[in-house]
Amino acid sequence: MSGDLRDGRIVIVGASLAGLRAAETLREKGFAGSLTLVGEDPRPPYDRPPLSKQVLLGRVPAEDTGLPLRRPVDAQWKLGVRATGLDPIEKRVLLANGEQLPFDRLLITTGTRARPWPNPAEAALDGVFTLRTSEDAGRIAERLDAGPRRVLVIGAGFTGSEIASACRERGLDVTVAERGPAPLVGALGGSFGALAAKLQRAHGVDLRCGVTVTALTGNGRLTGAELSDGSRIEADIAVVALGAIRNTEWLAESGLAAGPRGLACDAGCRAFNMYGIVTDDVFVAGDVARFPHPLFEYQLLSLEHWGNAVEQAEVAAHNMVSPGPLRRPHLAVPAFWSSQFGLNIKSVGVPTFSDQVVLAQGSPKEARLVAVYGYRGRVTAAVSVNQAKSLEYYQRLIETAAPFPPEPVGTDRPEPMTPVPSDVPDPAVLSHGPTVALTGHLPDRRLTLVRR
């Protein structure tokens, strides 16, 4: 490409939150060349957080979740088309319809998809769903409207717990099956999980932990499920919430450091190739990215967070049209929220990057608290329940690597403050994947050394 970064051809693969925000930012920064967005989903970009909340409650129709445009984006949209490959030498994206898109710079924002139920025959039963797209949410909401006798939710991560919450709010019976010891442990650790378990049961959820679903049964139509403890339950609907799979398969032959944990990049969102060498024309952002973070020992982080997708997309877009010295690092402290069972949960930092946790404010009995996480004596995360107002204070402690346990502050706290183990599990024992994963220091490919 000519030295002028404001011109040329940019292709974005993945036309959802990160892809859209990047496209807007490129135009805002004065990029005047051609811009093409490729998206497998035929719908224009929409927002996913409402899918497991307002949409399942029937308050917002699934079609009404479109993402508002921040500014007009002059671009070519290729929706309903899958990218199937990338030729890094010729600099072309290959599409399922046979088309090839040449680019000067490429942004990859292909995100994740729902992990399907492993038995395809059972997964095909009428009444078995996963939840990732607006179409999924629309179909589930329709079934919930019909008043099923019981809903089975498989996996008690954030998505599974939000689904269970929506069912209870609609007055539906719901069973949640989770392989781990409690809900939300994957993201928030065991102490928090115990609280979540109590809460779900108080809201009438039939919560079964430490079990797996061994079979979904039915004859064309789902009728029930068998559990590893020998019990069985009857249900008309099962929502499989086993976490996410990163959409990287299409990059298998591209020579990039792409694998099941995402596509690795540097702090400036530039993708690594399989040798760990950084590329200068392929960028990545959003749920599909794995990026190094200085606050977490430069380990590569994989996040499934709305806020991260937006901020990383903005940084990637900026760097795509800025010369080297003006590029910015993506250093934002990870943050996400969830609403379930009448609670507003917010998290900053990386709770799984911890060995201890302490109740710093509020009281679990009133379901209003801030828990602060520490790793080897410094603050690494904080999670609030119905008490988000002071989270900024704790974010500052994370950013400055303040000592853990934090100094007791304020008038609304337990006495004394006693740290306990945070009990972060090995992700292998969970039904659902964690929504934040520390994925080590290495790009994802195992290299086979060929000696000639």
Binding site: Q361, G362, E366, S390, E392, Y393, V409, G410, T411, D412
Partner: protein, 407 residues
């Protein structure tokens, strides 16, 4: 001039019409101890951080120097605006139950028609007058009528609670001076009288529920129980005062600002759908609550390199933060279409304004209705005469003239 006289100059009535140059000086000078021992903060990011900092208290009993405004007696506790969590949270939730989500999500929306009607009636009362006092004729009666309906207070009692309200507001005016102790004593006395008055009104509704908040306080019970009788008194005094003494200033500041920017007034007259954003800009540009005078740190804290000692009065100057060039582009420009506008007009953090959705609706409707009916409006006096308080700042009167041909 010396930085430690800033508070004195800001509160000086002579500077009421335009305190903004002093705020610029405040932001320049960082955080300095004032002659009276208080600390002023005027920078946006620092104010925002302090409002989310659990080490900052709103409870004046945590101040080192005793303070009559903090007096709290069994028969009349302080209201939740002057308390810390967890008590503050419990009382705020109980008060919110009949007012907003999650328990009463539709209350404010349902008042839309009624507020518009009240505004129209006030306008109708001005027919034929070519000279109007925006404050007495419109900006004051509107929110008073609204809050009376909402709480269930007879509108005709306004002269009584108006007098008490003025005493109470004067007692929270932090202007240093000899009369402070005296003001605080009479403020307390008025709070007690007003609390008794509202408590009796609520008591009359026990067992006779009607669709107002006082009735809900005595008759409804949620999972957190209900307010005690002294808590009802303290809370309804707070709601009645907070519910109109601020809104009147925003409406008046709005009219004044628009008359000073006639091209913007014209644009809003043509495109009333721009009003919501214009109201946010007014909350930034001329906020009715200029400063929060009742914070103090629970431990020694550092702000912009200065240690503010535990228990010292810490005054957060919201109106200065709203003009901070480190946060807002072109901060001294009134731009009703401003996009990035997270102003501090309603505060922030756990005490952020309880009534904000109602206030927004009232002021949007008030200004839209008023400018639709003003033909060629002109300021008679600029600046207009201001009310005393440097905290709840706004014109005492705003005389304007208009053409009356045809009305």
């Amino acid at each position: 001039m010396a930085a430690d006289t800033l508070f004195h100059r800001i509160t000086d009535y002579a500077n009421r019409a335009d305190p903004y140059p002093l705020y610029a000086e405040l932001r320049e000078s960082g955080v300095t101890r004032q002659q009276d021992g208080s600390y002023l903060v005027g920078a946006y990011h620092e104010i925002a951080a302090l409002l989310h900092d659990p080490r900052i208290s709103s409870d004046r009993r945590n101040r080192t120097a005793a303070d009559a405004a903090a007096t709290c007696e069994e028969d009349l506790p302080v209201s939740f605006i002057a308390m810390d969590d967890p008590e503050h949270n419990r009382l705020r939730r109980l008060a919110m139950r009949p007012f907003g989500p999650p328990h009463t999500p539709g209350r404010i929306d349902a008042m839309h028609g009624e507020i518009a009607r009240i505004a129209d009636e006030l306008i109708a009362g001005l027919r034929g007058k070519d000279r109007i006092d925006v404050v007495d004729d419109f900006a004051y009666p509107l929110p008073v009528t609204v809050i009376c309906r909402l709480l269930g207070v007879p509108r005709e009692d306004e002269p009584r609670f108006h007098a008490w309200t003025q005493e109470i507001i004067a007692s929270f005016d932090p202007t240093p001076g000899e009369d402070l102790a005296e003001r605080q004593r009479s403020g307390l006395e008025s709070r007690r009288t007003m609390g008794r008055y509202l408590g009796e009104l609520a008591e009359k509704r026990r067992g006779h529920p009607s669709d107002d908040m006082l009735s809900a306080f005595v008759n409804d019970e949620g999972p957190d129980g209900r307010l005690t009788q002294p808590e009802i008194m303290a809370t309804s005094v707070l709601l009645l005062i907070a519910g109109h003494e601020t809104t009147v200033n925003l409406i008046t500041n709005g009219v004044l600002t628009l008359l000073r920017h006639p091209e913007e007034l014209e644009r809003l007259r043509r495109r009333p759908e721009l009003m919501p954003r214009a109201v946010e800009e007014l909350l930034r540009y001329e906020p009715p609550v200029q400063m929060l005078p009742q914070r103090s740190p629970l431990a020694d804290i550092e702000v912009l390199g200065t240690t503010v000692p535990k228990g010292a009065p810490l005054i957060l100057v919201l109106a200065s933060g709203n003009r901070d060039p480190l946060r807002f582009r072109d901060p001294d420009r009134f731009d009703p279409t401003r996009e990035d506008n997270r102003h501090l007009g309603f505060g922030s953090g756990v005490h952020s304004c309880f009534g904000a959705p109602l206030a927004r609706l009232e002021v949007q409707l008030a200004l839209t209705t008023l400018i639709r009916h003003l033909d060629n409006p002109r300021l008679v006096e600029d600046p207009p005469p201001y009310r005393r308080s440097p905290v709840l700042r706004g014109p005492r009167h705003l005389p304007i003239e208009r053409d009356t041909t045809g009305t």
